[in-house]
Amino acid sequence: MAESSENPVHHLRRMFVLWLVLSLVVDVLFWFLVGPHVPPGHMTETAKDNQQVFNVLFVIALPVLLGVWIYLGYSAIVWRDREGAPEPVGGEVARTNSHAQVLWITITSFIVICLAAYGTIDLISHNGAGGGQGPNPAWAPAGAAAATQPNAVWTATNNSVLPVQVIAQQWKFTYRYPTFGGFESQHLILPNNTEIAFHVTSLDVIHSFWGYQLGVKADANPQIDNVAFTKTIQTGTTWIRCSELCGIWHGSMWNTGTVESKQQFEQWATTTETAQAAATKLLPPFAWTYVPDANGADGGYYPGVDQYSPTEVYGSTKAAS
């Protein structure tokens, strides 16, 4: 009886204070204790940025969640049915509360609009935030276009963008390094402190390249050069998975990649380029995309067909903006 006769403002005030204190405590604890461990980590600028975005979303979402829970809990405890309590008021009186409605719509709209603006700014300022931007990226780091030219060179000291082609095929990713003679490898090795331009394509169906700790994800479509950027900032190992259901062995279409020091990477790349020279000679010329059945290897058996023909050969790519 006592609760029902109280001024409703007191209830709101109590709930607000409770919500404010709990939100502050939970947000601070989350930011400092959980935040640094939220995936995908700190291996690249985009991964670090992804983590920060996740943390910001959590810090905003947690008070909303607490608000709902506190209201629910408070209602269940304070306004529960008990002996002698008045019958709940229904009908017209309980139907609307314009103040609450306006407040709720205003707050949630404000949050959503702010997040949309934040997300858009973040996407632009981080060169696509590790997502595939198609063959003509709208946002690219300086030097990305130059790195796609046939005469592009990458060394441990020239600080240029490293293009890496990701070739998806049922059911394995392989990688070509155009600035090292176009050799192909089962291993993804990247240099640290370097801008990387992933050029993702497919030889058959649609796959999706997901470098988990790299914070990079880009669909692999046949005959499409899907470009995604990131900058490595930490050495270590990353999981690589296909994130597009692509057939019977989709679940096992994974491997690992590593980020090594620039010197270690250069050593590996030059050694592999030399060791693979004979095999590289037999590969089709490096191109940004390939025609899956150009050599008749489309599931029909040859012979007497044209040689494997690439499209959009190295150097003819549209320059990244």
């Binding site: 049922q170 059911w171 392989t174 169906v205 062995w249 590969l283 290897a297 489309d298 599931g299």
Partner: protein, 246 residues
């Protein structure tokens, strides 16, 4: 019988029929396991395992007789269509593949390199019927786009590959001459009196686990990108290395 009783019988009958259909679907069809071959039972610890398989252009029997397939030789010497092979962990496997199928260029010539096996090389011996026409030759790279030549047994492209992607293993299996009139035309296993290549290599099994193996040649003829049919079905062109501690 009253209308109500007939309705009750009808409902019960309907449920019984549905139950039977579900039992047939799940109990008999969907839960039917694939056959596997256990190479650990007859294996002496510390000794290598001999694993012998065939690749055939058409299995010749079963629900899909025209599908391309692997068959495996069991420890008792008989051949079986089974693509799950139980192997001891951390053990050298000497693999012999009798390759009976024709082929062509690889979609990705990268898989023309022998990778992930001992010395990154395989030994290939070619036969026209029972007559040895080439090898044994140590091969680390096959040019699947090479111009066909009757005098060069390794110029017929690649028929299939044996690959365990998660272990980095990939071995191209040179094709037999697609124009030959002496290709295998019987149900698997194929006899050694028809054209074939014998490919031998070794690799070491890792720790316990299930490692899928597959073919990188889009050999599922008539299916999208050649990766359907036998290429996309366990027991035909893909399966598991079931590696266990002995």
């Amino acid at each position: 019988m009253s209308v109500r009783a007939r309705a009750a019988v009808g409902v019960v009958g309907l449920f019984a029929a549905a139950g039977l259909a579900i039992w047939i679907l799940f109990g008999l069809f969907l839960t039917t396991g694939y056959p596997s071959v256990d190479f650990t039972k007859s294996h002496t610890a510390g000794q290598p395992v001999d694993l012998t398989v065939q690749t055939v252009g058409a299995i010749g029997y079963g629900p899909h007789p025209t599908w391309v397939s692997y068959v495996v030789k069991q420890p008792n010497g008989t051949w079986i269509q089974a693509s799950t092979w139980t192997l001891p962990a951390h053990t050298l496997v000497h693999m012999t593949i009798y390759q009976y199928d024709s082929g062509g260029p690889l979609r990705n010539q990268f898989w023309g390199s022998v990778q992930g096996v001992t010395n990154n090389a395989a030994t290939v011996t070619s036969f026209a019927g029972s007559h040895q026409i080439g090898g044994p030759t140590s091969v680390s790279l096959i040019d699947s786009n090479a111009t066909q030549s009757d005098s060069e047994p390794l110029s017929n492209g690649v028929g299939h590959t044996f690959a365990v992607p998660t272990l980095g293993i990939a071995v191209p299996l040179p094709a037999v001459n697609g124009n030959s009139s002496n290709q295998c035309s019987t149900s698997a296993p194929c006899p050694t009196t028809v054209d074939h290549n014998v490919v031998k290599f070794s690799f070491e099994t890792p720790g316990p686990g299930n490692y899928p193996w597959q073919c990188f040649v889009p050999c599922g003829l008539g299916y999208l990108f050649g990766n359907g049919g036998g290429m996309g079905t366990i027991n035909y062109m893909g399966g598991f290395l079931n590696v266990v501690n002995q």
